[in-house]
Amino acid sequence: MTAIRDYECAVKHSEEVLPGVMKVVFDCPEMSSVALPGQFVQIEPSPDTFPVTRRPITINCLTDSGFELLFDVIGRGTELMARMKQGDRVRVLGPLGNGWVVDPGSKWLLIGGGLGAAGFQFLMDSVESSRVLIGASTSDRVISLPASHVVTEDGSEGGQGLVTALISDELLGGADSIAVCGPVAMMEAVWNSIPEKYRDRVQISTESRMGCGWGVCDGCSIPMSGGGYKKCCKEGPVFSGIEIDWEAWKEAGL
């Protein structure tokens, strides 16, 4: 028996926090009592017939009586979702996926690329200590998180450069667990910049186009290094970096 349910939630708050980035807070005490960091929900973008699938969004953090999402407005589904306003009732399926593997008392290093850092708040709220590295193209893409090191490609916030430049042996060595989330290319660059000896502590939050979100359609496969695929929505979205067949996954595009 899973805790997954389809809720009709009221929108409590909706706001454009960065240009083209929405924060939407939903009322849903049931969800907030069972969700784990790294899990996501499937949002019905509109009650109309189209689009025919929902949109997967990571739970950014829990609130008193529900949860918060942070998302990029990039296409039809998220455009519809950006129009959600306080009081709207929205179908939300969740919590979905496995979430980060959190050992009690562990020290974390969180590496996020742009909106990939959406969800880090929840993880930080759940672990003992964490250090956060964030890379983004520009300041308009930086999610503000406490005690984080930021670099931007154009230098408009924090240092100038890529997030990989922030990664040091010291930071890696000081962490029991390393969480990486962001665009595929960024995650691969991070993965490649992590020395062999630290790789077994790296967890990657993957993304894939989704149909159902709860494991029945087999549409969200992530290629595994041992051959075959695993389902992003059910066996993921978090996989150990070693499990992933990076070449094949990059090939997939999105």
Binding site: M1, T2, I4, R5, D6, E44, T49, F50, P51, V52, T53, R54, R91, L93, S208, R209, M210, G211, C212, W214, G215, V216, C217, D218, G219, C220, S221, I222, P223, G227, G228, Y229, A248, W249, E251, A252, G253, L254
Partner: protein, 293 residues
């Protein structure tokens, strides 16, 4: 069956009474137990499992899904753990289902269908089979099976010899003559015909000229395909004497009623489950409101 209008929501099919005509379509509802976990089996007449093949199949390379403006392309490629795994590890869990289960069987050769069925015969969990001679997403030409009435006949005959359980043959809308294929399946011993599998579709990125799906063409589903499915259900049900199961295009209760009126005995819903895991219950509510039943 005898037809009355408006059509009855309660159906008699394969000698059993079904309180709901709604079947969950193959590939969109796992083996059903996932929906049991979600508490979404209310209103479901029967579940059709995802396709089972002899050997395990990893499926097609990602991306396997692409949503177009008005529908969904899928290129799953019959990903499944193979018949032996299904028999040993999945069917025992599916035994808890509150409704009948049909197992969707696919194959890469005429004989494979019967081979898979023969192995599944040792389970008593399922009511019958849906023989998928029509998957558009496999290189070996699943689609080609479906368009040749002669091959359809031989597949059906093979399955018929392998089991005493009822089975439906799921046909393709992609080429050939679906009525001829249906007649061939019935001649081969099919207890029903499923009309139909997904339509071949494609989406090309005009900037690069490349298909968004690696295997280029994919299976396309959309609520806008309903009129095509209605026409085929009407044509097939007028030509054969065994029941017809419709598959395709359902997004509301009125669609189900229309398919029943067109000659379907049972009606599958697939893609709609991606938006609404509890679609069957919704469809039942809508139908009851419309018919006053």
């Amino acid at each position: 069956m005898t037809f009355s209008f408006p059509p009855a929501i309660k159906r008699r099919f394969w000698g059993q009474v079904f309180e709901s005509p709604v079947m969950l379509a193959s590939g969109t509802a796992g083996f059903g137990h996932e929906l049991l976990d979600l508490n979404c089996l209310s209103g479901v007449g029967a579940v059709v499992s995802k396709a089972v093949t002899f050997k395990p199949r990893a499926g097609n390379p990602p991306p396997r899904l692409f949503e177009t403006s008005f529908g969904l392309l899928n290129s799953i490629g019959l990903a499944n753990p193979g018949v032996h795994h299904v028999l040993q590890h999945i069917l025992p869990i599916a035994a808890d289902l509150p409704c009948p289960l049909l197992i969707n069987v696919a194959g890469e050769s005429v004989s494979e269908f019967a081979d898979v069925v023969r192995i599944l015969e040792s389970s008593s969990v399922h009511l019958g089979y849906e023989i998928n001679v029509s998957c558009p997403n496999v290189a070996e030409g699943g689609a080609a099976f479906g368009v040749d009435p002669d091959v359809v006949f031989r597949v059906a005959q093979g399955v018929s010899n392998a089991t005493d359980r009822p089975f439906s043959v799921k046909l393709t809308p992609n080429g050939g003559d679906i009525v001829q294929s249906a007649e061939a399946a019935v001649q081969g011993g099919a207890s029903a015909i499923t009309v139909c599998n997904t339509f071949l579709g494609m989406h090309i990125d005009w900037r690069t000229g490349r298909s968004v799906i690696k295997r280029r063409v994919a299976g396309y589903t959309s609520p806008a395909l309903l009129p095509l499915v209605v026409a085929k259900v009407w044509q097939v049900s007028n030509a054969i004497s065994v029941p017809v199961i419709s598959s395709g295009g359902v997004s509301c209760g009125e669609d189900v009623l229309q398919l029943l009126a067109a000659g379907a005995d049972m009606v599958q819903v697939g893609t709609r489950l991606m938006r609404r895991p509890f679609a069957a219950a919704e469809l039942m509510d809508e139908m009851k409101k419309l018919t006053g039943e």
